[in-house]
Symmetry: C2
């Protein structure tokens, strides 16, 4: 059910096609509500059927036609109502690496270390992208200044959540590596 509202929230940024949504989703909402392109297309179809989004076909010259979607007033109202209701489901994290860490004892700690180092690489990449996005939002202004003038703070707050989460992720990896290093001293 929440995907529905995630899509509506994404459309607050303005008109978009399913394809564009699937791209912009990746760098923002997917960080707390992942969805594949297929899920987005299906959801947009349903939302259009319920009158929460309106669509128009845009013909293009050197590319396939695309369907652009906009929030309707009904959609905006539904989203507003959703935003005020307490969440139905608790936050869920699915992290395969932690299953492997939980199960590591008895195996080779060095193998687990390699997995954690790979995780760190990916986390660092994600943090770089997040920080570039934040810099683009701030556009040279200090945070205080931005928050005082910006019309929307929601996307900024969720971005801060993403940055904080990945920073914490990195701190955990560092600690875990220290613990594993002690387990199997070099030499």
């Amino acid at each position: 059910m929440s995907l529905r509202y995630a899509v509506l929230a994404a459309l607050l940024e303005g008109e978009a096609s399913g394809y564009e949504l699937s791209k912009s989703f990746d760098v923002s909402l997917a960080n707390f509500w992942p969805a594949t392109p297929q899920q987005l297309y299906r959801e947009l179809e349903r939302l259009a059927g319920d009158g929460l989004v309106a669509s128009r076909v845009v013909r293009q010259e050197r590319r396939p036609d695309k369907r652009m979607f906009t929030l309707t007033e009904a959609g905006r109202a539904e989203l507003g109502a959703f935003a005020g209701r307490p969440p139905k489901r608790p936050t869920a994290v699915r992290d395969e690496l932690l299953i492997k860490v939980q199960a590591m004892d008895g195996g080779d700690p060095d193998v687990t270390r390699v997995l954690i180092e790979e995780r760190m690489d990916r986390v660092r990449g994600k943090l770089d992208r997040y920080r570039r996005l934040r810099d683009r939002l701030l556009d040279g202004r200090a945070e205080d200044e931005y928050l005082a003038t910006a019309e929307r703070v929601g996307p900024y707050l969720t971005l801060m959540a993403g940055i904080g989460f990945e920073e914490q992720n990195l701190r955990w990896c560092e600690r875990a590596l220290l613990v594993l290093a002690r387990r199997v001293p070099l030499g």
Copy 2:
């Protein structure tokens, strides 16, 4: 597919019934791989079919019979192999509250603040439980001492991940409340 290994990892702690697993899952593996009792029962059934766990029926006097499950050697081997392979899926977070925060602009910030305060209550409760669990594990020893002598560090590392995640969660909530307080000054 990962649930399979999460269940095997849980059975590293020793023999358990489906019911017991669904209880212990809640306080450990569910924090990075949630599962309902129904999922666990189904998975145990499959694992037994594949010979990765063995089961025996325990008759009880004042309670219904239960089926106790143990890791087989094949199960232990499968789990070990899994623990060394790089994760198939990236970490996924599903957090309905963040959709609401993303969508809040245009609505009443005070409503969002209430939701964040409710989140803080739940997070603090979770942190308390985590910390009690850590204290039980450490049993009076300092962390260094524990890590030097413990036969298993996996469960400790995943517990630290849970604590760190919730602490970060709390820090984000505090920041978000500050931002929202500025948005709508009291009076």
